[in-house]
Amino acid sequence: MKLISYRHQGREAYGVVKDGGIVDMSARMDHPSLKQAIAGLSINEMEKLAAAADPDVSLDAIEYMFPITTPEKIFCIGRNYRAYHEVLEDGGPKWPSIFPRFASGFAPHGEAILRPSVSEQLDYEGEIGVIIGKPGRHIPEENALDYVAGYTIINEGSVRDWQTKGTQNCPGKNFHRSGGIGPWMVTRDEIADLDALQIKTSVDGDSRQDGGSDMMIFKIPFVISHISQFTWLEPGDMIATGSPGGSAIESDPPKWLKPGESISINIEPIGTLTNPIAAE
């Protein structure tokens, strides 16, 4: 099942994607937002309600919002994919690279990602986004997926020269609307094998990333368990799980994103996240 948050005729709503449209759940349930619906363990109820209803609104008629409109936390994992046949030095990194981002660093599906006025080095990173479904702390790796509500697509957009100005990458990872999240989330049951997802990024139709999630170094259950050692994970929190090779910076010369281009990240069975690039 695909769950979406959206705006229609000025009203914020959430629902189930069905037959090119949306069955409006906010009109049928008491929860004011998808985050609260998930926290209220109402995924099964939404499935039943959606099965018995026709779409209320077409996908063409809405403005997309982040699937979780106000996530408390977005943790990102850096350098988490190896190349095919690559043997990592000393068996690979001991710990994942983890950094937080705020929602204001992203644009929803369909809205512009902004190329900053102070830098030309706007890059993309196509990533599987995990959405947490229930509160957890000190989560054992073997139970970690029980805490997942579903998955979305994250373009963990980065401004490369600002990533290396200080000792921390934060400035380059926090530019206003430099990434994307969406278009919706698929519930956990839709993905049987987390190692069998293919992340495909294209810019104006030109393929840039095409990597399999089997190349992930720190797997999703480990990452959830590891983060939950230091903080509570709450419903609606997101984890961007790292990006395969093919970012702009890896080309010579780098293929930085430019205003007027359009970037799409496809991960089946989630869908495709598309954003135009505009000048700030």
Partner: protein, 280 residues
């Protein structure tokens, strides 16, 4: 004026802290603001000033339970390695760009609160920091204009779990432990706090003084940091910037004087306030 968020009798609100007690302001301003963040968003500090003039306090300070000064900030940015003397003492070069990272609000406890001793680490440290509270949306503001966007100042302990800070290339895991830092007790408005480039910064553990510095020693001043951060993100009312910590942290002693359960940590910023909490 000193403005604090607190709960009393189970009700959350905000008010002014005076020498004689607390004047409750929740819902009392013309815009009926329910939170301090809403007051900053509405830019009505002058109205609050007028509202408390000649007014008798509603309750003694020891009757309120302090909350984080802004309980629900959108963003908190922190600066590392920012005191000149401390950097030189450690044998580092003076940086040309600040080291920026972020924390989520839930990693801080309010005044008189109890920090959580990390469950998987003994390397629990304190960092006394002068903290900027943003009053108006700020994007691409110059250093010369930056302080016009500051509502006031508060006090932080940027509490850190040192071994987790070194797990991976980014410090975030060691800086985002649940309830590992302190923030408060109140916001002292900019007109009353004095010059942010000349504030004393001190900390004590169980009454033993550990840190003593002055913001005049900052490599990157409050005004510079507001300007710098506004290059990549819109700073919003209620956002906070912790500006770094002088010498004297636990890891600097041989052997390190790590915090232990039962310890009392106090941080004082001259002209702003004194913040206190325990380790649980």
């Amino acid at each position: 004026m000193k403005l604090a968020s607190f709960s009393i009798g189970g009700l959350k609100g905000f008010g002014a802290i005076t020498d004689n007690g607390v004047i409750g302001l929740t819902g009392r301003l013309s815009g009926r603001q329910q939170t301090l963040r809403e007051v900053l968003e509405a830019d009505v500090l002058d109205e609050a000033r007028t509202a408390i003039e000649g007014v008798e306090p509603d309750y003694p300070v020891d009757k309120v339970e302090f909350l984080l000064p802004i309980p629900n900030p959108e963003k908190i940015y922190c600066v590392g390695q920012n005191y000149r003397e401390h950097i030189l003492e450690m044998g580092y070069e003076i940086p040309t760009s600040p080291s920026i990272f972020s924390r989520y609000a839930r990693t801080f406890v309010p005044h008189n609160g109890t920090m959580d001793m990390p469950s998987h680490s003994e390397h629990f440290d304190y960092e006394a920091e002068m903290t900027v509270v943003i009053g108006r949306p700020a994007r691409h503001v110059s250093e010369a204009d930056a302080l016009k966007y500051v509502a006031g100042y508060t006090v932080a302990n940027d509490g850190s779990v040192r071994d987790w800070q070194a797990r991976g290339p980014q410090v975030a895991p060691g800086k985002n432990w649940e309830n590992s830092g302190m923030l408060g007790p109140w916001i002292t408005t900019a007109d009353e706090a004095g010059d942010p480039a000349n504030m004393s910064v001190k900390s004590w553990v169980n009454g033993e003084q550990r840190q003593e510095g002055n913001t005049s020693d900052l490599v990157f001043s409050a005004a510079f940091l507001v300007s710098y951060l506004s290059t990549f993100i819109t700073l919003m009312p209620g956002d906070m910037i912790t500006t770094g910590s002088p010498a004297g942290v636990a890891v600097g002693f041989n052997p390190p004087k790590w915090l232990k359960p039962g310890d009392k940590v106090e941080v004082e910023i001259g002209g702003v306030g004194r913040l206190s909490a325990k380790v649980g």
